[in-house]
C-alpha cells in the first residue's frame, strides 16, 4: 500500500475554497488542464477520449473530497473515489509503457490552471498564499500516489514474468519410454526447485516413467544448499516410484562435493550420454548395431 504522506502541522478541520472554485469554473479548469496535458506530451491521440473522461472524473472526485473537510489523510474514506481513479489511470498508463513521471504529470499539470484561477479569485495575498499552499500539498500527494501505485503495478508484472520464466526454463523431456530427462540451466534455488519438482512429478504421473535423469551441466555452482535441493528432488521422484540418475558432474563439481562432504546417495554420471545408457540398461533395453549398414542411393 502506498504510504500516507503526512504533514507535521495542519489545522484539524479543514476549509478550503477549492470545492467552490471547481464548481464555478469546471469547464475552464478542464480545458486548461487538458491543454496542459497535451503540451506536456503525456498523451497521444488514441488516449484522447480516455484522458478526457479521466480528467473530468478526477475534477469531480477532487471537488467531492476537498468538500469533505480533510486533506491530511489520503487513505481516509473521503479520498477513496479519488484514489480509485488515480489507480485506474496509473494502471492503464503503466501497461501502455508510460514512465512514472508521465503518469504523475496527469495530476501535476492541473496546478497551472488551478493556480491561475486561484489568483483571479482570491481576495487578498494571504488568502491566496494559503489556498495555493493547500492546492500544492494536495496535488503533490495525489501525484506521488500515482507514482507509488505505478511502481506497484510494475512490480506485479515483473513478478509474473519471473514466474513464467521459471516455468519455461525447467522443461522435462522424455528420452525413451519410461525415461525422463530434466536439463537444469542456471542456479538451483528453492523457488526453482519447487518448479522442477512439480514439473518432474507431473511428467512421472503422465508418462509412468521409472527413471529420471537430472542433468546439472548447466548449473554453475554446486554447494551444500544446491545439493540439498537436488536431494529433495530425488526424494520426491522416488516417492512417486521413479529412480533418479544425476548427470553432468563436472570435475570441479565432483571435487566440491567430496570436499563439502555432501552425500549425494544417488547414482551419478559424468555425462547425460552415460546416464542414458545406464537408464536403458535398467529398463532392459540394449542398443545393437544393424547387420547391414544403411546405404544412401548416391552410394
Amino acid at each position: 500500500m502506498p504510504t500516507t504522506l503526512r504533514m507535521t502541522k495542519m489545522p484539524k478541520k479543514f476549509e478550503t475554497a477549492l470545492p467552490a472554485l471547481i464548481d464555478r469554473h469546471q469547464k475552464q479548469l478542464l480545458e486548461g488542464w487538458l491543454s496542459q496535458q497535451r503540451n506536456s506530451g503525456t498523451w497521444t491521440a488514441e488516449d484522447e477520449s480516455d484522458t478526457k473522461s479521466q480528467t473530468t472524473r478526477f475534477l469531480a472526485e477532487l471537488r467531492k473530497a476537498t468538500a469533505a473537510g480533510q486533506i491530511e489523510d489520503m487513505q481516509a474514506r473521503e479520498w477513496a473515489g479519488t484514489r480509485e481513479l488515480l489507480e485506474e489511470v496509473s494502471r492503464a498508463r503503466a501497461l501502455r509503457g508510460f514512465t512514472p513521471s508521465q503518469t504523475a504529470l496527469f495530476v501535476f499539470s492541473l496546478k497551472g490552471p488551478l493556480f491561475a484561477l486561484l489568483r483571479e479569485e482570491s481576495g487578498n495575498a494571504e488568502k491566496l498564499a494559503t489556498e495555493m499552499w493547500t492546492a500544492t500539498l494536495l496535488l503533490d500527494r495525489l501525484g506521488l500516489y500515482t507514482i507509488e501505485f505505478f511502481l506497484k503495478t510494475r512490480e506485479e508484472v515483473i513478478a509474473r514474468q519471473h514466474a513464467e520464466m521459471l516455468e519455461l526454463s525447467t522443461p522435462v523431456v522424455q528420452l525413451w519410454e519410461g525415461i525422463l530427462a530434466v536439463p537444469l540451466i542456471g542456479t538451483l534455488d528453492s523457488a526453482r526447485t519447487q518448479v522442477v519438482m512439480e514439473n518432474l512429478l507431473q511428467e512421472i504421473v503422465t508418462t509412468g516413467a521409472e527413471i529420471a535423469i537430472i542433468d546439472i551441466t548447466g548449473v554453475p555452482t554446486v554447494d551444500t544448499l544446491v545439493a540439498q535441493h537436488l536431494l529433495k528432488t530425488v526424494s520426491a521422484a522416488r516417492l512417486m516410484g521413479a529412480d533418479c540418475i544425476i548427470s553432468g558432474i563436472r570435475p570441479q563439481i565432483a571435487q566440491t562435493i567430496v570436499h563439502l562432504g555432501v552425500d549425494l546417495s544417488v547414482t551419478s554420471k559424468a555425462t547425460m550420454a552415460d546416464a542414458f545408457e545406464l537408464a536403458l540398461r535398467r529398463v532392459g533395453k540394449t542398443v545393437v548395431d544393424r547387420a547391414k549398414p544403411i546405404r544412401t542411393p548416391a552410394e
Binding site: M1, K152, E156, Q194, E198, Q228
Partner: protein, 134 residues
C-alpha cells in the same frame, strides 16, 4: 492487513484434527493457493494440531484468511494451556532426516510455512502462529 475470514475451533481430539485439516483446506482454496501450497499449509496445520492434542492437553485454533495489499494469506494460531515446551530450541531444531520422534512436528511445520512463531512458557501453555502467503 485486512482479515477477510476469521473462525475459531476446538482442537481437543483426533476428530478435531481431521476437521482442522478440512477447514484449513477450505481457507487455502479460498485464498487462491495452488494445490502444492494448499497441501503444505494443511499438513503444517495437521502437525501442530496433533501436537496440541497430544502434548498440549487440547486447545483452540484461530483460523484467518488475511490480505496485505494484493497478497492473500492464511494465518493459524494454535493455543493450549498445556505443560509448555521446556527446550524450544531443541524442539525447533532442524533435522532433515527420515524423521521419527518428538519435535518433527514443529520443525516440519516451520519448513512448510512462510511465517512461523512459537511462544511457550513451561507450566502455562503454548501459542504457535504460522502463516502461508500466496
Amino acid at each position: 492487513m485486512i482479515v477477510e475470514k476469521d473462525e475459531t475451533m476446538p482442537v481437543r481430539n483426533a476428530e478435531d484434527v481431521v476437521r482442522v485439516r478440512r477447514e484449513v483446506r477450505t481457507h487455502a482454496i479460498g485464498a487462491g493457493f495452488n494445490l502444492v501450497d494448499q497441501t503444505k499449509i494443511v499438513t503444517a496445520a495437521s502437525e501442530i494440531a496433533r501436537n496440541t492434542v497430544d502434548y498440549g492437553g487440547g486447545g483452540m485454533l484461530r483460523l484467518e484468511t488475511v490480505r496485505l495489499g494484493a497478497r492473500r494469506g492464511v494465518r493459524l494460531t494454535f493455543t493450549d494451556r498445556g505443560p509448555g515446551i521446556a527446550d524450544l530450541k531443541l524442539a525447533l531444531s532442524d533435522g532433515y532426516s527420515s524423521g521419527s520422534g518428538l519435535g518433527l512436528g514443529l520443525s516440519g511445520a516451520k519448513r512448510l510455512s512462510n511465517e512461523f512463531d512459537v511462544k511457550s512458557t513451561p507450566g502455562e501453555g503454548t501459542i504457535v502462529t504460522l502463516a502461508r502467503w500466496k
